[in-house]
Structure formats: C-alpha cells, structure tokens
C-alpha cells in the first residue's frame, strides 16, 4: 500500500485514493475535521476544493491539511 505523510504523520492508503477519498476517510474516522474549513496542499501545491476527486495520491506524497486558528 502506498504510504503518504499527512500533517507530519505517515499513513497507508489504498491504491488509487484521491484527496477526496482521504478527506472522506478522515471524516469517517470521527476525527475533528470540518471539510468546509480546510485547505489542502499536496507536495507544496494547493489542491483546490473542486479538484479533490480528480487528484490521486501517490506513494510518498506530502499532504498538508490546514485550517484557520486564532493568532496575532
């Protein structure tokens, strides 16, 4: 199985998983994730929300899932 890195942690994914698939999986795991409040980067490039399903993930991809928090 391909292994990707999501927010600094390794994660195995089924072959052919897309960004959409990853986000859905994270949601189904009951993790604190609000897909309306995230932005996704793969290998340092933004993956626009509208293209999640069209973006397959590959072994060793670096995925960052970011959100807005309080700050100065």
């Amino acid at each position: 199985m391909p292994t990707i890195r999501v927010n600094g942690e390794n994660r195995e994914i089924p072959e052919g998983t897309t960004v959409e698939g990853l986000v859905s999986t994270l949601e189904s795991e009951g993790l604190a994730l609000d897909r309306r409040a995230i932005a996704v980067e793969v290998n340092r490039d933004i993956v626009p929300r509208s293209t999640y399903a069209a973006h397959p993930l590959e072994d060793a991809d670096l995925v960052e899932i970011m959100t807005i928090v309080g700050g100065g």
Binding site: A32, D34, E41, I68, G71
Partner: protein, 264 residues
C-alpha cells in the same frame, strides 16, 4: 470648528479599504472565545488577525472563525511561525484557498528566541506575494532601510515592530520609527511589543497610521478592560500627534503669571 464631542479620528485607508478604527487586534491566546469576542468588541477594532495551522485531529481546532462576525471584521491572515520565504508564500496561498481573500500579514521570522523578522526572507516573500496579487502588510523590524525596501517591493503597508512579539516592552526605538514614518508613503502600522495602553499612545503620537497588537490584550488579567484602554489610548495618541506637542525643555516654565506675585 468641531466640538470635542464630535471629534473622531479620520478613517484609515489601506489597500483600497477604509476603516473607522486604527487598531488591528489579534485573535490568539485568549482564555476562551467569549473573552475574545468581548475584548474585540471593547477594542472597537475592525481588522482582526488569524493564523493558519495544520488541522488538529485529536483535540479539535480552535473554533475562532465561528466566533468572528465576517460582516463586522476584516480578517487578516498572518504567516506567523514561518521561517522560510517559501513557507510564508505557501501559507498565504492556503489562506486564499481558505476563503480569506488576498490580504496577508507577512511574517518571516529569523530566530526562534527573539522572533525577530528575517529581512532577507521577508523581502523575498513580499516580492513573490505582490507578484501573485496579494495585498501584503509586511511585518518588519524597526530598520528604516528595510522598511523602505518593503515599500519598494510593493507592500501595501509596512508594519515595524515596537519591540519583539509578545514582549510587552513597548516602543524601544522611537527614533527609528520616526525615520520610517517620515520616509515611507505607504501606511505604517506599529506591530508587536505593546504591553499596555501608553505604548499604543506613544506609537500613535509618533505618527503611526495604526497599531496592531494581540498579547497586550489577550494576556492582560482583564482583557476586556485592557481592550477598552487600548482603544482610548489610540485615540489619545492620534489627537496628540495632530495637536502638536510642546517642545521638551530642560528647565521649568511657569504656567501661572510670573508678575503680580504676593510680596514682590
């Protein structure tokens, strides 16, 4: 002539937008969202800063956006915590993807202990972001040459630090800030280091267009009272700057008539 009751600061125009309040307030480090909302309200601010971070799966995220009225507040995302120009550019792009628009408070830091800005990285990121259509409000040290370079690079506002972030040391080098204020044409917002209300007044008395602060309010024992104080200090400094202060003199000059004193 306007009476004192109707005297209010002129609106601040910056990046094509106009704000009645010249105080920009951060949303970090409040003990709870209710305190943050009440403090922002008491400060009178219309621009609030936020940060962009990895989603925290385990403990859940700071629900800051759920507490901010987007009609009332302009959201200014920062690139805080970035130590490389590339990372700051990525964060700005992420904030745009998150629906926060093209405004960004650019921060590229050079040292973890002092959190002082990295001038080389800041300038590089500023150029890139301006080229990508961002409205860049650039956090920098109080170096007048660096401030000028950021203006030349297309920064919409230059934001020199009064003193290190969160240090509460106020304005450490008023002379450098004076030079920056005299030299630059873009609005100068004093950012960072504010510890209490008088620091805001001093920044405004120097002629700053505004002040950005976070810890000075969020870290106070009573953030709502401190926010109120900051708001009034800003107005005090704004008017004092425009009123034209008396020169400093080494010796006294009497305020009461010197003639006709008893027993002359």
């Amino acid at each position: 002539m306007r009476t004192p009751e109707t005297l209010t600061p002129d609106p601040l125009s910056i990046g094509g937008r106009t704000f009645r309040s010249r105080l920009f307030v951060g949303t970090g480090k409040y003990k709870d969202p209710e305190t943050m909302v009440a403090a922002l309200d008491a400060s009178g601010c219309e621009v609030v800063t936020v940060a962009i971070r990895r989603v925290d799966w385990k403990s859940g995220d700071d629900p800051v956006m759920g507490h901010l009225d987007r009609e009332r507040y302009t959201i200014l995302p920062n690139t805080a915590g970035c130590f490389e120009a590339d990372d700051a550019v990525r964060v700005a792009r992420l904030s745009r993807e998150l629906g926060l628009g093209d405004w960004v408070k650019l921060e590229v830091l050079g040292d973890r202990r002092t959190l002082l800005p990295d001038p080389v990285g800041t300038l590089e990121a500023c150029r890139t972001l301006v080229g990508e259509g961002f409205t860049v409000l650039a956090y920098t040290s109080d170096d007048p040459v660096m401030a000028l370079r950021l203006q030349e690079a297309g920064a919409t506002s230059v934001m020199p630090a009064g003193s290190p972030i969160g240090s509460g040391q106020g304005v450490l080098n008023p002379n450098n800030l004076r030079i920056i204020l005299e030299t630059l044409e873009v609005p100068v917002i004093i950012d960072a280091g504010v510890g209490t209300a008088s620091d805001v007044a001093i920044a405004m008395e120097l002629g700053a267009e505004g002040v950005l602060l976070n810890t000075g309010i969020a870290g106070a024992d009573d953030p709502v009272r401190m926010a109120h104080a900051m708001r009034h200090a800003l107005e005090a400094g704004y008017f004092a700057h425009r009123a034209g202060r008396i020169p400093r003199r080494l010796y006294a000059t009497a305020s009461s008539p010197t003639r006709g004193v008893l027993g002359e």
